[in-house]
Symmetry: C2
Subunit: 343 residues, 2 copies
């Protein structure tokens, strides 16, 4: 039932395999009558083309590879989710791989995907340099688009969100409320993308940057990291009046630590997260957070990739990289976890 071949259809229809192939592709050279007949048979047989065979003839696999650092955080879940549904709608299937923030694994994934003859690749990661992207671009014939933060400037085709913009929004909000001392919890990364803009924003407002208020260790374990780092901050005595957690999930842990210490959010300490995960609105207090346009990011990446694939399909000659870089901007969602500082 499942898994019949073009040959079988041909036999039943009393025509040759080529005719079936063309009929199914609605090639104009085949008579309407034959097309109808063949389509009917194909349906009855639950015919699905063998994509491996098709791939071999250079017609593409309708397979897209998506590489993400990990898929348990809300951020990447949303991306995977959106990319999958967009791709499905366009008739592509999604194959995914994770890098665990590891450059080698990223490269291996790339090789694996290429061996599987994917039609295109979306490489997501805050840290585009994880893989030596420049090299990759030159080596790979498969269309690829990068998806990440706006930090890099390596000139690849990519869609990125400007974290720095979100962070300056958040600092401005805090400053307007009257805050003067700021903490930072999160982002223990080989190449941090949120800490530098944080420092820069502070500097722009002529604000003091207190090294002691920056906590990065162990924050790759989100809730736990946030909890532990906030406890550490608490133990050291001097406290900032506002703390920026680089992910909402870190903020959750941090708020727990504050609660246990008998401190109130936002009265004693204001907290801001990043991501706007779906739980944030329902936290107590509801979390003020930076909201990157994930859906749009995913859509753009998919569109760019598909366009690239189909363009490549037509003019196989020159594969020029019109290295387009789409930058998207996050918004600030103000809720109850921020207020004017005490006193």
């Amino acid at each position: 039932m499942f898994m019949s071949t073009i040959e079988e259809i041909a036999k039943i229809a009393g025509v040759s395999a080529s005719t079936v192939s063309r009929a199914l592709a609605r090639n104009k050279k085949i008579s309407e009558h034959t097309i109808q007949r063949i389509e009917k048979i194909a349906n009855e047989l639950h015919y699905t083309p063998n994509l491996s065979a098709r791939a071999l003839t250079g017609k593409g696999t309708k397979l897209i590879g998506l590489i993400v650092p990990e898929i348990t955080s809300n951020h990447y879940v949303q991306i995977v989710n959106r990319v999958e549904s967009e791709l499905y709608a366009k008739g592509y299937a999604l194959i995914i791989g994770t890098t665990d923030f590891n450059a080698d694994k990223g490269l291996r994934n790339l090789e694996v995907f290429i061996g599987r003859a994917v039609d295109g690749i979306i490489f997501a990661g805050d840290n585009l340099d994880e893989v030596n992207a420049a090299a990759v671009r030159d080596i790979i014939k498969t269309p690829i688009v990068f998806l990440g933060s706006a930090g890099d400037n390596t000139g690849h085709e990519c869609v990125a969100v400007d974290d720095a913009h979100g962070i300056s929004l958040l600092i401005r909000h805090l400053i307007e409320l009257g805050h003067k001392s700021f903490g930072f919890i999160g982002e223990k990364l080989s190449k941090p993308v949120r800490l530098p803009p944080f420092q820069k924003a502070l500097a722009e407002w002529g604000l003091e940057y207190n090294e002691n208020f920056i906590k990065t260790d162990g924050t790759e374990r989100f809730e736990e990291g946030g909890y532990l780092r906030m406890k550490e901050l608490l133990a050291e005595g001097e406290m900032p009046t506002a703390v920026f957690a680089t992910y909402d999930n870190i903020a959750i842990g941090a708020m727990k630590a504050l609660h246990e210490a008998g401190l109130k959010v936002p009265e004693d300490v204001s907290i801001i997260g990043f991501d706007n995960i779906k739980e944030s609105e329902y936290l107590i207090p509801a979390l003020t957070t930076v909201f990157p346009p994930i859906t749009e990011m995913a859509d753009r990446a998919v569109d760019m990739l598909i366009e690239k694939i189909e363009k490549k399909d037509t003019d196989k000659t020159a594969r020029k990289y019109t290295a387009a870089k789409t930058i998207l901007y996050p918004e600030l969602v103000i809720r109850q976890s921020t207020s004017v500082p005490r006193q």
Copy 2:
């Protein structure tokens, strides 16, 4: 660089393609010396076998399809995550599809996967009947294992978690604390799997089952659904002393509603969730919840599938279905959202 063929290697090595193929498979008929030489060349060329071609010869694609209802809830995220990493370790790649709880889409996914010649399929979903699993089993030659709740008894190869057991654990816990009236929020499903065991558990303890305390509408939107349903309960006046939310995310919304109504958890109302998402431990109060062994579920499913694939590989003759059904049991994680009822 990437994407060289066996032919090219053969040319460089001065041997035939078949020799290269065998050398790369470490076939004993090829001299050790030749193997070394060919492997060296293959490495230099970054050779990756074209899996489409290999698939065509019946050697399998090393591709596994995973079908889930959706991938934004914590439960399925964890499953996808674990399945992916297990599979990666075993040299397989993962292709995923979502059904959106829709039987047709499930079937289409199945067809698509088969057309892509996946080596095996994991079909996850609380509701195994979404797809007429019995029919599927007979039709499909591709190894498949189901992953879901223990509700069904259609006799497929599957790994399931016994939700009912978790629910009886939870009811017992509540009863031991002294609760007498129980609410239920969640699960607007074509075939509910948690409500019946809930009712059954109540009956077993000779407890009254109050229809007014069961709220299911709109709970497919987790936080929001929980929030709205709890508000509804609150508005109706009479309140249970304990409420079971079928997902932790629903519990989060419910707790928010209670908070806004000025009610305290657990003093005024005890709340229990289901899933043990990573945020639960850090909620205020930390959430008591039923914890299904997701990691183990995923591992078992992968193991069963791979075993099935490789067994099928050896004895191609009989493909007998030793329809094994593995049942796993959830635990109850007791935290701060449950306590003795007031008065």
